[in-house]
Symmetry: C2
Subunit: 236 residues, 2 copies
């Protein structure tokens, strides 16, 4: 009896993501930015009226939040936990897709090379950074997934990040996020967000157009070399 209620609840949540159009909206919003209703409609290839209805359901359920501004309606995912949930759900099964055309192929190649996953780095770039940090003892992955003391120092000194408030934050400092292209874990949580933030701010990586894909810059390559002793060649 109890788990029939629980099942209904689960089905309700899953149904939100079970529609291709709503799912496409969510995937688009995985970049962490706020999108207008029209942008999402065009991206998913549906009429504006259809998009409106879907956005109603998504916001009503608390999956997304919205902000009215002038004649625009901006929508984004509610929080990093929600983004992590969607990413892990989408990544849980192997994709096994043969890219359709050249255009799509280069686009997905760019995404595989490096992208943002809500507020942290993913793709080969994200995995490589995470691996490098593990190799230097900044991350402890032998018995879980945590930032070591050394890692915390590194965030402070090498990256200039203020980690003082992290202990009191509701969000965990370091979290594991599974990648849907690499099928490997990369760094998320406060530390992951801080890394991504600093990389973007310093111009070490740059967004490709208006997509989630990011590209490593020249200064980024040298920075990775200096800070993490990484060979950035394969990531260019």
């Amino acid at each position: 009896m109890t788990d029939r209620a629980q099942g209904a609840k689960l089905a309700e949540v899953a149904a939100l993501l079970a529609d291709p159009t709503r799912a496409t909206f969510c995937v688009a919003m995985l970049d962490g930015r706020a999108w207008t209703a029209g942008e999402l409609a065009r991206r998913a290839g549906v009429a504006a009226s259809t998009a409106t209805e879907h956005l109603h359901r998504l916001t009503a359920s608390g999956l997304c939040v919205e902000r009215r501004q002038g004649r625009h309606r901006y929508v984004q995912l509610a929080d990093p936990e929600t983004a992590a949930l969607i990413e892990s759900l989408a990544g849980h099964f192997p994709v096994a897709e043969a890219p359709a055309g050249l255009r799509a192929s280069t686009a997905s190649a760019a995404l595989a090379r490096g992208r943002t996953c809500y507020d942290h780095l993913a793709g080969r770039l994200g995995v490589a950074v995470t691996d490098a940090m593990t190799g230097l003892g900044l991350l402890d992955r032998t018995a879980g997934f945590a930032l070591s003391d050394k890692g915390r120092d590194w965030m402070e000194t090498a990256l200039g990040v203020d980690t003082a408030g992290w202990s009191h934050s509701r969000r965990t400092a370091a979290k594991e996020c599974l990648d849907w292209t690499e099928r490997r874990s990369h760094l998320a949580g406060l530390a992951g967000a801080a890394v991504c933030d600093r990389f973007l701010e310093s111009g070490w990586v740059r967004r490709v157009g208006s997509t989630r894909a990011v590209r490593l810059t020249d200064s980024g390559a040298t920075a990775l070399q200096e800070l993490l002793d990484m060979d950035a060649g394969p990531l260019r």
Copy 2:
């Protein structure tokens, strides 16, 4: 373009859980055991033929695996990751349910007190054990979620668990799992499974009937006192 394909993929996965009957199946199987098709059908309140069709979809998608044995068909969740995914999806939104009757109320109270979550402990019991381990420095939660060296010793000596192979396992030693009744994290992963296993084997906790609920025994209460310096009073 790329994320429309990704959206379709996400929708496909979500659709599996978007049906109340299939979702109920999955919630039931969260106890980690193998269920027969008939058991699941009765539990969800549908005809056997309906259950068959649902189980086809679940196994075809790789969410569940099955084992034929005589005239029975046993089915269970594919792996701990799948279980974690379902649990986190189900637990992502507040429940806010008023129990319908006395029967349902005592049943859900038992589940809230203590239960298994696939292969580890959850509910107030699971959270309390996790908190106690954190307090004793066995778990490091200041910068992530990891088993400390001290914690690993404790697993070996206090619990008699062989942790030798853990470093080479594909599965992480300690993982965070969010609880849908407590809205709090508890220990999962290899360590969580080992704790649950030892507790059941030693008779410290016992399953209530054929449900996921577990009950702390007298010897269990003293064991918690000795091993973790816990007051088991509120958990009885």
